[in-house]
Symmetry: C6
Subunit: 74 residues, 6 copies
């Protein structure tokens, strides 16, 4: 796989949040590498509130990591 | 997306808790960007106790991050 | 909402645990603000072992935060 | 409720693990205070592997807190 | 219960990972002490991918604790 | 089991992420050691969005550990 993660540093907390989203998606992407299949799964999943909450949980976990890496942008 | 997160600092723990809620919702919002669809999902979800507990779990995870960023408002 | 969280400091670990419970409930309360609906959900939920375990998980997550904020009451 | 948690310090990691179990159960106990109901739920729950794994997850989360409080018994 | 956890220190990360597995299983064992029942549950559980992922999640949580206790074997 | 984890150090965050994936899979592998059974479970699991999110959650948890072990590659 090409380089997609060279640093956890971001300029702002918002960019850090967006990096957390990328990390959450990459966790899915490594497990299901077919973009075609992932696209087919999206409609169902994006209309299920519990699925959305679970996705938000993964983002929250990665955001902890990214925030710590950036010393909370203090 | 417009700037919505410029700092993790808050004046009080309660504002920190409310920021954690914002972060939890943003995690959903990035995954399902249609406000219209999100609104339709809310009634079902907000009456399902396990869905509410899962949402509370995401908030708890973000509150850890926000609290650490604020050195626990000590 | 009125002030309900002005500090994470507690005198004892037990009070810290009880604060963690409050935080877990507030996470639900912000998502479902109707006390009436929350009350209706309680009987079903409080007799479902997995629901109880999930609630205990949220409490555990908040207790990590409160315990750290109190330097573990050392 | 009577005092049940006056310190997070334990002599050994194993006692710390057992304290984590107590904390996990207390999280359930505060949510469903009826011991009678909790007892009725146990047989079903204790034979469901996912329920057991979820309980183990709560214990793991509390053990993180207790271990940190004891500086990992180093 | 006999002594089974006297230290969180391990010589290698791999032994630390294996200790995390032990901790995850002990969390189940304290909740369902009958080895006989646990054995009966295993076949079903070990063929359910979500059950396996949940077990892996508990291990991951304990591995955080064990790794911190060992200062990440640096 | 042969040595598969001798260090948590990685050269880049991306390698750290890939190590987190390995750790998540090993957690499954220790619980279901039959590669044959694990392979049979994969097709179903890799097309279920919630299963993929749960897998991503385990990876996120391990990535916290690996990132801390590497001092966030700062």
């Amino acid at each position: 796989m090409a380089d997609w993660l060279t640093s956890l540093k971001t300029k702002t907390p918002q960019e850090g949040f967006e990096l957390a989203i990328t990390l959450a998606r990459k966790g899915v992407g490594y497990t299901q590498p077919s973009e075609n299949i992932r696209k087919k799964l999206r409609p169902k999943y994006a209309r299920n509130p519990d699925s959305l909450t679970m996705a938000s949980q993964v983002i929250a976990t990665h955001f902890q990591t990214v925030a710590a890496a950036n010393n909370y942008w203090r």
